[in-house]
């Protein structure tokens, strides 16, 4: 028995150093203390529907300072969130007092009459957020119904090792210059394919989600509507954009993998057969190092996305979220106090960008971009300071009409049109003309 006790003791002592090392390695969450006192005298129940991460800590802190409010926090996202919002707004009671939704889906609700008019409340903060970001939360009556929280300026992430293997320059400035237009990007992809045999980026034929197509349009100042505001998904410019996208398939430059699948992730994390790049929003900076390709630290660079030519903005948005308060909220003042002191407060939004474990998203308010802590070379991206690039893109995003009240229906029809074209069932013009006819019936 004594022998056993001795063995257990020795084993425990042996494990102690490992335990302490692992405890030291575990990152500790920063405690911020954003609120000195409760910013509102309002009392009552406050339901908050937001994403997770740093929000958990912020809401706990807000609750601690405001004991008069009974805050209920639900982490919600995606389709379930939209359905929940529809039901709550339809019922005219319950649901959330502070509600979160992706900016691309905001158009579904903006003219519903069920959201609180925030025009006067946001007046002092209008200059903090670029005009383009406000348009998605503005109703057809010109009133503002939401507050942008974070944005997704589109950039190009690329593998420096693949570019070098292809004999191409790999520093961000040279790459940005090299892919000034989508035609240039096509040439770069051809070089990569010829010199390395690797795919340039993932682009599914059969399961295409139209996101790259929308970015090609957006980066050239194009959209789904013409200048008169009429639906024009088959305009000559749009047809040309789809034909250009088709060249990547024709030349077999792209990996035929669906977005957000294991095969898609494998393309980014692979050392043997990596894809060379991906044109996607800035939030990818959070995903690549944490769970998609953590082992590829130092191999990535970030460049400007391609555009349409000399005068092209080379900028687009993908993702981003906004908050609103339902008109039926009984604690609208408390909800506004929460919003004003979080998404419109520099220190909180700065943390959303810089927090080492829970940060990474790009705040919508530009006042934080000048903060020295935003300049942070990231080892994962070869010590590149990516924030400056995101800001440059964000401030150049053209006001095109892609997102709006009918975006879900339009995206659904367009993705089918792209699939028909990609699978050789129709030319670009035929596919988009059929889409135009279909949408003319579906969209009111």
């Amino acid at each position: 028995m004594k022998k056993w006790s001795l063995r257990v003791l020795l084993l425990t002592l042996m494990l102690v150093p490992f335990a302490s090392v692992s405890a030291q390695d575990e990152p500790t969450d920063i405690v911020y203390n954003f609120f000195d006192e409760c910013p509102t005298d309002a009392t009552g129940a406050l339901d908050i529907w937001l994403g997770s991460g740093l929000w958990d800590a912020i809401i706990a802190e807000f609750q601690a300072e405001c004991p008069g409010l009974a805050i209920t926090f639900a982490s919600r996202s995606g389709d379930d969130n939209i359905t929940g919002l529809q039901l709550a707004l339809s019922a005219g009671e319950g649901g959330c007092d502070v509600c979160n939704i992706e900016v691309k889906d905001f158009g579904q609700f903006v003219d519903s009459g069920a959201l609180l008019d925030l025009t006067d409340r946001v007046a002092p903060f209008r200059d903090l957020i670029p005009a383009d970001a406000w348009q998605y939360v503005t109703g057809s009556d010109g009133k503002i119904y939401g507050i942008p929280v974070d944005v997704g300026p589109v950039v190009m992430y690329y593998r420096r090792d693949v570019f070098e293997l292809a004999g191409l320059p790999s520093d961000p400035d040279s790459v940005s210059e090299m892919v000034a237009t989508w035609q240039d990007y096509l040439s770069v992809c051809q070089t990569i394919k010829a010199n390395t045999g690797l795919f340039c980026f993932p682009l599914s034929r059969a399961d295409n989600d139209a996101r790259i197509y929308e970015m090609i349009l957006w980066s050239q100042g194009l959209g789904y509507y013409n200048s008169a505001g009429e639906l024009a998904v088959n305009s000559p410019e749009n047809v040309a954009a789809l034909e250009l996208m088709g060249e990547f398939w024709t030349d077999e430059l792209v990996a035929d993998t669906s977005s957000w699948t294991d095969e898609w992730y494998a393309g980014f994390s692979s050392f043997d057969e990596p894809v060379a790049s991906i044109v996607i929003a800035g939030w990818m900076e959070l995903f690549l190092p944490t769970w998609i390709a953590p082992d590829t630290a130092g191999l990535w660079g970030v460049a400007r996305m391609p555009g349409g030519g000399e005068a092209s903005p080379r900028a687009a948005l993908d993702g981003g979220s906004a908050l609103f308060i339902p008109a039926h909220s009984a604690t609208a003042d408390a909800a506004w106090a929460f919003i004003e002191n979080t998404v419109l407060a520099d220190d909180v939004m700065l943390a959303f960008r810089t927090d080492p474990t829970r940060g990474g998203v790009l705040p919508a308010i530009t006042s934080v971009y000048a903060d020295p802590s935003m300049v942070r070379p990231l080892a994962f991206f070869g010590e590149q300071n990516t924030t400056a690039l995101y800001l440059e893109v964000y401030q150049n995003v053209p006001a095109v009409r892609i997102w709006g009240p009918d975006y879900t229906a339009i995206n659904d029809v367009i993705r089918t049109a792209i699939q028909r074209f990609a699978l050789g069932e129709a030319t670009a013009e035929e596919a988009l003309t059929a889409a135009q006819s279909e949408l003319a019936e579906v969209v009111r």
Binding site: D79, I82, T83, Q86, L87, L89, S90, Q108, F109, S112, G113, A114, R205, A206, D207, D256, T257, S258, T261, D262, E263, A266, D406, T408, A409, D412, T416, Q419, R420, L423, E425, S437, E438, E441, V442
Partner: protein, 316 residues
């Protein structure tokens, strides 16, 4: 005295009204007598009224209105149905056609397979038949969402199926990348999921057939196959009909499977329920979705009647 005169001048009571009153009292007495029984069955009816009857009637009302789920209803008469029968119904009819082509693959394979497996499991000489019965039923109680995602991984370009096919030198199959293959994959998934249920239904039917009928066939010189085809199958007709109706309605009502496995290239796997859901919750067109629901109901109803006529002529 006055009261007596009044009584004499009153008209005689209406016998119908008296009878009605008597019945009412009797009914009420019966209700009072069985009040606890009614109380115990009440939850079902309350639930059914709230979650079954009310949505049924409300969606009928909705089908004549334009509604985005938030703003007040706007009466549009038959506009939603006209829309559905015109160009605007493309997506819906496409999804109906998808379901029909799924049925063409799925129902015959499922019915034959379920019947064969049930016949095998009905033979007590098969060792461990109870274990097989349990195993074959297990997928039916598995979440189709989970199964759908697992199938998606198995059928991916570099999934297990293609890895095995490549290892055998058979090349790879674009399971989810062409409309035909995506539909085939969906059929595989639902056969895997529903086979157990259909086997159990067939098995219960087989066990109802008296053994002496088959014995008589054997005495008359029939082979095992002949006895199965000439005796068992005709007697199984009502059960086969039930299984087929279940499969047809099930194929039209596919939802979780499609959501998990994917809507397929060119919407090849989109079924009417998915279209109705998308119309309501993605496009915010609840009125149109309600109209689709009723047309969908009508289509299922007509198909079921047709099946009764074609398959169940003599035995239903």
């Amino acid at each position: 005295m006055m009261a007596h005169i009044q009584q004499l001048t009153d008209p005689p009571p209406d016998p119908v009204a008296v009878e009605r009153s008597r019945r009412r009292s009797e009914t009420w007495a019966r209700v009072k007598k069985n009040k606890w029984a009614y109380l115990f069955i009440a939850p079902f009816y309350v639930m059914f009224t709230i979650f079954g009857l009310f949505p049924l009637l409300f969606s009928l009302v909705l089908s004549f209105h334009e509604w985005d789920g938030i703003r007040p209803l706007r009466f549009v008469g038959l506009e939603n149905f006209q829309f559905l029968l015109g160009e605007g119904g493309t997506l819906f009819w496409e999804s109906m056609r998808n379901s029909l082509s799924i049925i063409v693959f799925y129902v015959p394979i499922m019915t034959v397979l379920a019947l064969i497996i049930a016949a095998l499991l009905n033979d007590p000489r098969v060792r461990g038949f109870r274990i097989y019965r349990a195993l074959i039923f297990a997928p039916f109680v598995t979440s189709m969402i989970v199964a759908g995602y697992v199938f998606q991984m198995l059928l991916g370009q570099e999934g297990l199926f293609n890895t095995l096919l490549s290892a055998l030198g058979l090349g790879t199959v674009p399971w989810l990348d062409t409309p035909f293959h995506a539909r085939l994959s969906l059929v595989l998934l639902i056969i895997w999921g529903d086979l157990g249920y259909n086997v159990v239904i067939m098995l219960s039917g087989l066990q109802q057939i008296p053994a002496d009928l088959q014995e008589a066939a054997f005495i008359d010189g029939a082979t095992g196959l002949q006895a199965f085809l000439q005796v068992t199958i005709p007697l199984m007709r009502p059960v086969i009909l039930f299984s087929m109706i279940f499969s047809v309605v099930g194929a039209f009502a596919l939802f979780n499977e499609v959501v998990a496995l994917g809507r397929g290239p060119l919407r090849s796997n989109v079924t009417p329920l998915v279209t109705i859901y998308d119309t309501a919750f993605s496009s915010g067109e609840f009125g149109r979705a309600a109209a689709q629901s009723y047309v969908y109901f009508l289509a299922i109803f007509v198909l079921t009647i047709l099946q009764f006529r074609l398959v169940g002529r003599d035995n239903t």
